[in-house]
């Protein structure tokens, strides 16, 4: 049976994403898809979906979602509070778990700590694929709901939950990676002076406010192009993680929605294992880069996938965490309002 989930408030740039629309870059169609695929997969696993199913990706201020006519199961990946409105009371629960909304109940998610992106999976979320994917690419109106970001009044179709649905929880939230962002130099590192390469690999950059799903502009030392090469190339293909440097010497990291080709020299490409960490970094975050080889970057990619596999095995029904009936504790808190002591409105006021 279908259940409807209404978007009560859209939040900031919430879109439906999955693992991307592959295979059409030759026609100028970027992959789109989740900026942090691992978190999308965890959210879906918590909701009981296939890992690559469509889910909601949001920036900073999450959307407010309300179950309309049947119970809907949601799951949250990212370090952010989830404010639940149940029986007229507001309560806060932690992310990294699933939560079933009864008709009339609503949740507001966010803002994420230590980043700007969070994920909400919806059990059985039905979004028709366009060109093989449900990922929203707003510039060409592809995927998602009518090719657009979520807007208040939209209704998503999900699978209604049977009574007695057991919630799932990730035993331990994943640790945030630290350290420099690993990159592979090239394809056009030969367009830059030795000093520019040295500065790129030793200086600190900051994420500027110009950061969206297409890319992130960084601010830092000016990276100069070699006088005999210049700041333009004959356009060639870009990939997610390409770091292009236009004439002003300030790098731009290309992300999921970026154009598929470009005419600025690309000093380096972010290792796929580290790209999500950079893609979701908050405005103002400090970033450093370290060069590694292609083989080292491939090893990191395999290690990251293995670590995600271990993490996914840490998803358990709520009652089974260390033999403690967490579900009962959560439910007890929710009903008794013990969590109200956290004063959710204050948390949100302090963070927004």
């Amino acid at each position: 049976m279908n259940a409807r989930l209404e978007v009560v408030a859209s939040g900031a740039l919430a879109t439906i994403q999955d693992l991307g629309r592959l295979g059409l870059r030759r026609s100028g169609v970027p992959w789109a898809g989740a900026l942090d695929p691992a978190r999308l997969r965890i959210a879906n696993a918590l909701a009981g979906n296939a890992q690559g199913a469509p889910a909601v990706e949001f920036f900073v201020t999450g959307p407010t979602l309300r179950a309309v006519d049947a119970p809907v199961r949601l799951a949250f990946a990212g370090d952010f509070p989830v404010e639940l409105e149940r029986e007229g009371r507001k309560m806060v629960v932690e992310s990294w778990r699933s939560l079933t909304l009864q008709p009339g109940e609503s949740v507001r998610a966010g803002p994420p700590a230590g980043g700007r992106v969070g994920y909400i999976a919806v059990a059985g979320l039905a979004v028709p694929p366009v060109l093989g994917s449900a990922a929203t690419y707003t510039r060409a109106g592809l995927g998602g709901v009518e090719g657009r970001a979520l807007a208040s009044g939209m209704r998503l179709v999900a699978q209604a939950q049977e009574p007695g649905t057991r919630e799932a929880i990730l035993r331990q939230a994943p640790e945030q990676d630290g350290g420099p962002i690993r990159v592979v130099l090239g394809p056009q590192d030969d367009y830059f002076t030795e000093e520019a390469i040295a500065d790129f690999l030793s200086c600190e950059f900051r994420v500027s406010p110009q950061a969206d799903r297409m890319g992130i502009r960084l601010e830092g030392p000016t990276l100069r192009h070699r006088a005999d090469k210049g700041a333009e190339i004959i356009s060639d293909a870009t990939v997610p993680g390409s770091i292009q440097v236009p004439g002003n010497g300030q790098p731009i990291v290309l992300l999921a929605d970026a154009q598929t080709a470009g005419g600025y020299p690309k000093i380096a490409t972010v290792a796929s294992a580290d790209l999500p960490r950079l893609a979701v970094a908050s405005v103002g975050a400090a970033v450093r880069f370290r060069a590694i080889t292609v083989a080292e970057a491939e090893t990191l990619a395999r290690q990251r996938e293995e670590a995600l596999g271990h993490l996914l095995q840490q998803i358990v029904p709520m009652t089974l965490v260390d033999g403690v009936d967490l579900e009962a504790i959560y439910q007890g808190n929710l009903v008794s309002g013990v969590v109200d002591a956290l004063a959710p409105e204050h948390i949100f006021n302090a963070l927004e």
Binding site: L24, G28, V29, V184, G241, A297, A301
Partner: protein, 245 residues
């Protein structure tokens, strides 16, 4: 032709055939692209996700969980050697209608004046040229086509426009293009084409492919409107503008 293998991270590598915009180079790129596509049909390149041909290079995107650069690079080098730069299949030929000048091409008069031409002469030069589709990029379905005759070559506009309407036919440098979507843009807008360039419902969503050849045919504003209406209503299919497949 010497090919350089350039690093593009752990999920891609770029095969660079040269450093110019020329029909010879793009033919080499397309030949390599076709050789890779044929190898993938034979399941010879597991882990390769897609290849992206551009003016003078081909970028191969792969999944590092399924194939390593160390295995992929020699496999690609072998394919290129076997294929030996064999000439690519000839592309399709299109004749696309354009309504030049006026509200459809607000920069036409300026372009003509800058080059010491009348607007009619500028249109004649554009319509008399058969353009090669070098590559698609920038936006879904956006074709980079060339080469413009010398007499129409101009740098981009000093001030980009905030809004070029869908179908805008524009020129910049040695190239001409059609904007498949409303978009900001720095090219000179000389006309508008009523034929859609991208539709997610088509079996192949982009109308044009790298290697195709395009000629433009001037149409009146009235004919432009008729064609727009017929295409929108499905009475005319974009394939009607295909001269040779």
């Amino acid at each position: 032709m010497a090919v350089r293998f350039l690093n593009a991270g752990d999920c891609a590598l770029t095969l660079e055939f040269g450093d110019a915009i020329s029909p010879e180079l793009v033919r080499a790129v397309i030949a390599a692209d076709q050789a890779i596509a044929a190898a993938r049909e034979r399941d010879e390149l597991p882990g390769v996700i897609e290849a992206v041909p551009t003016f003078r290079s081909l970028t191969v995107l792969y999944d590092p969980l399924h194939i390593s650069r160390a295995a992929l690079e020699p496999a690609l080098a072998r394919l290129l050697a076997e294929q030996g730069g064999a000439s690519a299949q000839t592309g399709r030929r299109w004749r696309l209608p354009v309504c030049y000048g006026g509200e459809y091409g607000p920069d036409l008069a300026e372009v003509a004046a800058a080059k010491g031409l009348t607007p009619e002469e500028a249109i004649r030069l554009h319509q008399d040229t058969e353009f090669l589709v070098y590559m698609l990029g920038f936006l879904p379905g956006f074709p980079y086509m060339g080469d413009l005759p010398e007499a129409l070559i101009l740098p981009r506009r000093a001030e980009p426009r905030l809004r070029l309407p869908t179908g805008s036919v524009a020129i910049a440098g040695t190239l001409t293009a059609i904007y498949p979507w409303e978009s900001p843009g720095g090219w000179h807008l000389i006309g508008r084409c009523p034929v859609p360039l991208f539709d997610a419902h088509w079996r192949e969503p982009a109308l044009l492919r790298a290697g195709d050849r395009v000629r433009f045919e001037p149409v009146s504003p009235e004919r432009f409107q008729e064609l727009s209406d017929a295409l929108a209503a499905g009475r005319t299919a974009p394939a009607a503008f295909l001269e040779q497949s």
